[in-house]
């Protein structure tokens, strides 16, 4: 999966969680939580969706890797290389 595809995947999952989420001014290098209406339960939703869609088991200690859009892409790129 390309970096762009991974980025779209994350945004699609966030949109499923909150269809009112506004991505227009989203800064990819800033924490998602500071910019969107997301809390810890929502991050668990992102983890669950990645598990359901791509059979990814993300260990709890890696959750901080999902903090920003850029860090999500960096973390997921090798895991989704064959997806």
């Amino acid at each position: 999966m390309t970096r762009d595809a991974i980025r779209d995947l994350i945004l699609e999952i966030i949109e499923d969680i909150d269809e009112d989420a506004d991505f227009d001014t989203l800064q990819a290098d800033k924490p998602l939580r500071d910019q969107l209406d997301l809390d810890s339960m929502d991050f668990l939703d992102i983890v669950m969706e990645l598990r359901k869609r791509h059979k990814l088991q993300i260990p709890e200690e890696d959750y901080p890797e999902l903090a920003t859009l850029d860090s999500c892409v960096n973390y997921l790129e090798p895991l989704l290389a064959d997806a």
């Binding site: 909150d18 269809e19 669950m48 598990r51 359901k52 088991q57």
Partner: protein
């Protein structure tokens, strides 16, 4: 009722019924006998008549919150906000720490659990796919808690589990907490999301107690010889309760004053009702209200359309009211189905406007009255106008032998 306690009044009503999302429309449809019971198709179970509420789910919270929470929470949040608006009451009128939220439930968590089991069935029953939302959704205080989160209420919240007497039981709880001075305002009522559970339909069917008809609007037919069971509905109704003096002070509209109430137990059977205890419950509520049977103007029955349930309640009414000529008897479930945990309060709400318009809304779908259900002054098909309506008695009974009766009176 003991006059040393403060007098408690209903000053706001918020509701979602299968035929209306506000009291005005609801009353109009009840007077005309307009049922909007429809047919739904449930996972595993198939088709069944049911009452589904059509209301603005995002009027008071975002879709995101509705997704995270429960249908019961969504119904509760809508009704709580509608009740406050109806009462013309700002949430800051009373200290938020002095507001209590009491919500009646027949059951809770059934829908969410069924959904999750279905969800993991898509993943070979691997529990890694079980949602982290399960616990906050299924804790029993969920619907009441969702109301407090939405409104920023920091006073007590909890639910009362009381089968199909739960709406009345929570209204009683709210009144009691107000009387004890625990809170200064209460949001009290009941909620039901049971139409989302195939198990509830399947269980009623297995008992031979699930109503059916070619036209779903005719499936709920209490007192009719052909009645064959309950029509499950979702619904909710939340009241604003205030002390009389507080309500008068702010010039509130007063729907009714709580005159008396009672609850008791059959101590007898898991599902079969028992007229002796129901009669005792009605008698106790009247005694506490300082009223005699001839003082009751409208009696809103619990009757659900099951063979024995309707007969038992009519026996109880006959036992208490005899050949009474003053009391007019109706049934709301014939029009809206059985809203379970919301039933008592939703049905009472549909009758509250009678204090103003003096009309008794009719029961429908009774073409051949079961002789064992015959009572004086039963109101069918068309409303009856009375010379006066000063008191309403509402029955609400439930499984495992639980009975509740509430009597409200007109505030002059």
């Amino acid at each position: 009722m003991d006059t040393q306690f403060p007098r408690i009044v209903i000053t706001g009503v918020g509701l979602a019924a299968p035929n209306a999302d506000n009291l005005k429309t609801y009353r109009e449809k009840l007077l005309k006998g307009v049922s909007e019971i429809t047919e739904i198709d449930l996972r595993y179970f198939g088709k069944a008549p049911a009452g589904i509420c059509d209301f603005n789910e995002t009027k008071y919270r975002k879709k995101k919150e509705n997704k995270r929470g429960t249908r019961a929470g969504c119904l509760g949040v809508y009704c709580a906000n509608e009740a406050l608006a109806d009462a013309a009451l700002s949430i800051d009128h009373y200290k938020r720490s002095r507001i209590g939220v009491y919500v009646g439930l027949t059951e809770h968590g059934t829908v969410e659990t069924e959904n999750e089991v279905y969800n993991i069935s898509q993943f070979d029953y691997n529990v890694d796919y079980w949602t982290h939302h399960h616990n906050p959704r299924t804790v029993l205080n969920n619907p009441a808690g969702e109301i407090t989160m939405n409104l920023g209420i920091t006073g007590p919240h909890y639910v009362i589990g009381a089968a199909c007497a739960a709406g009345n039981a929570s209204l009683i709880q709210g009144v009691q907490m107000m009387r004890l001075g625990e809170v200064d305002m209460a949001l009290a009522g009941g909620v039901s999301e049971s139409t989302g559970s195939f198990g509830i339909f399947a269980s009623f069917k297995a008992q031979g107690a699930l109503g059916s008809a070619n036209d779903p609007r005719e499936a709920s037919r209490p007192f009719d010889t052909s009645r064959n069971g309950i029509v499950v509905s979702e619904g909710a109704c939340i009241y604003v309760l205030e002390r009389l003096e507080s309500a008068l002070e702010r010039g509130a509209k007063i729907y009714a004053e709580i005159a008396g109430y009672a609850m008791n137990s059959d101590a007898k059977d898991y599902v079969l009702p028992f007229h002796e205890r129901q009669a005792e419950c009605m008698a106790l509520a009247m005694e506490r209200a300082g009223l005699a049977p001839e003082d009751i103007d409208i009696l809103n029955t619990h009757a659900t359309g099951t063979k024995q349930g309707d007969i038992e309640e009519c026996k109880a009414i006959r036992q208490v009211f005899g050949e009474g000529k003053n009391t007019y008897i109706n049934n709301t479930k014939s029009i809206i189905g059985h809203a379970m945990g919301a039933a008592g309060v939703l049905e009472l709400a549909g009758n509250l406007p009678a204090f103003a318009d003096k009309l008794v809304h009719p029961s429908i779908n009774c073409n051949n009255l079961d002789p064992e259900c015959k009572l004086n002054n039963m109101v069918f098909d068309k409303p009856v106008k009375l010379e006066k309506v000063d008191t309403i008695l509402n029955n609400s009974f439930g499984m495992v032998g639980i009975n509740s009766v509430i009597i409200v009176k007109k505030h002059e």
